[in-house]
Amino acid sequence: MDLIMIREVDKQYKNGVLAISDLSLNVKKGDFVFIIGASGSGKSTLIKMLYREEKPTKGKILIGGINVAKLKNKRVYVLRRKIGVVFQDFRLLPKKTVYENVAFALEIFGEKKQEIRKRVINSLNLVGLKSKAKYYPNNLSGGEQQRVAIARAIVNSPKLVICDEPTGNLDPDTSMEIMKVLEEINKQGTTIMVVTHDKEIVNKMKRRVILLEEGRVKKDYKKGTYDDEVV
């Protein structure tokens, strides 16, 4: 069953740049997908459209039955509750502790305190940071901060986790640790989409790889590596 269905999507920015052109793509539930491509190939625009930070100019994007292209600004939260997003710069709140940062994503729904506690501890366990729940983000290493961001992204059990260059600021060893965490989450049934430049992790993971070029899907490898094509 397809979790993501993208049909003939165009995205043209106001300055005239055509970032995505006639792009169609399907992602199955439980998939682990890498999206690679040179700078300006439309990777970031594509995932920005998936979590509806950008709207497509033309075409259709369905995520778990929600038509993202037609979603109004004030209804965006409906989509965002079904997906988790992880960024290169972590985007944690520096004045909240690790626990509070993760709990934040549940508190806004009015969940019960005990339920929040249970789920936050579960997520932190999964990313291996239970012992650092009371730390502030600034006291953590880059890899640890990224794991907090992942814990926050998965705490409300989303169907899809989107990662935009999640290892961009991290050394190779830490990057692999992050990938292992994502793999673990994927094993539990969550679909993972990772945009990356990191050759090493793509080659080691041997998962589905989608190569973008000039806003179109150039190649789609089932168990690909970065070396299949020179990007």
Binding site: L79, A105, E107, I108, E111
Partner: protein, 299 residues
């Protein structure tokens, strides 16, 4: 239940955020405090001036002196004219012997002289004492009565009353303009200060949106924070108003310069002003936050 939990959490978070972003909160609070103090002064001034004018207006009387050769019929005609005038609130007739008696009560010297007067030698005049409804057009009413043949003259202390009233009116208008413009400036300043606080926290807002908070959920803690800022900002102005007004009132013994200019008694006046200040603080704080967070909602 869910709503109550969210509200409870928002109150807790708003309080935490006021404390955690203390320097910015302090900027907003000081802004509210300073303007509310000036607003309080202007409101107190304007209410008191209004009070002075009302007291004076109630006291103003047109005294109509009637020619000694007027017949009873003519006097009845004059009374009719006064009675039918739309601006006349009440009136009373004093015969010249009543006027003489009134004067004699106040002075023994006058008494010895005036006791010898009889109805024919009494040089005083019969009088109507007329109170008007609208003091602004007292001139017209007085003139209308003066134009009647048997009226010798009318007196109502026109120069001093006119001067006093026009001064009060100027003061009142200035204080009204001051209050209104201050309120606009306060709203603007607070909205800007809160915009600054919210701008500093735009990251927090974008993360809230990212993890699936609806616009209402994002806005609520900021609006509650505005409520706290409004309440905190109005504490000092309220204390200054209550304490300060009592001090001024007692220092002047409840009146300024003459018994005619009486200050409004402090109770319940100061408490009403305190409530008004709290209300303004809360509305401006919440409104400012609501408006300021708006532009960060569309991600």
């Amino acid at each position: 239940m869910k709503l109550f939990r969210m509200l409870g959490r928002n109150f807790r978070d708003a309080l935490k955020s006021v404390i955690r972003n203390f320097s910015l909160s302090l900027a907003s609070i000081s802004c509210i405090t300073i303007t509310l103090v000036v607003v309080a002064l202007s409101i107190i001034l304007s209410y008191n001036v209004n009070n002075f004018s009302n007291i004076i207006k109630k006291d103003v009387t047109i005294v109509v002196f009637i020619e000694n050769d007027a017949t009873d019929q003519q006097i009845a005609g004059l009374e009719n004219t006064i009675k039918n005038d739309k601006n006349v609130d009440s009136y009373k007739f004093y015969s010249k012997s009543e006027v003489a008696e009134e004067i004699m009560q106040h002075s023994d010297i006058y008494k010895t002289i005036m006791e010898e007067w009889n109805d024919k030698t009494n040089p005083l005049y019969d009088e109507f004492w007329v109170k008007v409804k609208d003091i602004e057009i007292i001139d017209q009413t007085a003139q209308k009565i003066k134009d009647i043949k048997i009226v010798k003259t009318v007196e109502y202390g026109e120069t001093i009353i006119n001067k006093l009233l026009s001064t009060f009116k100027v003061i009142q208008n200035i204080s009204y303009i001051l209050v209104i413009s201050l309120l606009i400036v306060t709203a603007f300043l607070i909205s800007n200060t809160i915009k600054l606080t919210i701008h500093a926290r735009r990251k927090e807002i974008s993360i809230m949106r990212l993890v699936g908070a609806s616009n209402m959920t994002i806005r609520l803690p900021f609006v509650i924070e505005g409520l706290f800022l409004g309440i905190l900002g109005s504490i000092i102005p309220i204390i200054i108003t209550i304490y300060g007004y009592y001090v001024v009132y007692n220092y002047y013994g409840g009146q300024l310069f003459s018994p005619l200019i009486r200050l409004i008694s402090p109770e319940p006046f100061v408490y009403i002003i305190a409530l008004i200040l709290l209300g303004i603080g809360v509305i401006v704080g919440m409104g400012g936050s609501y408006k300021a967070v708006r532009r960060h909602l569309k991600v």
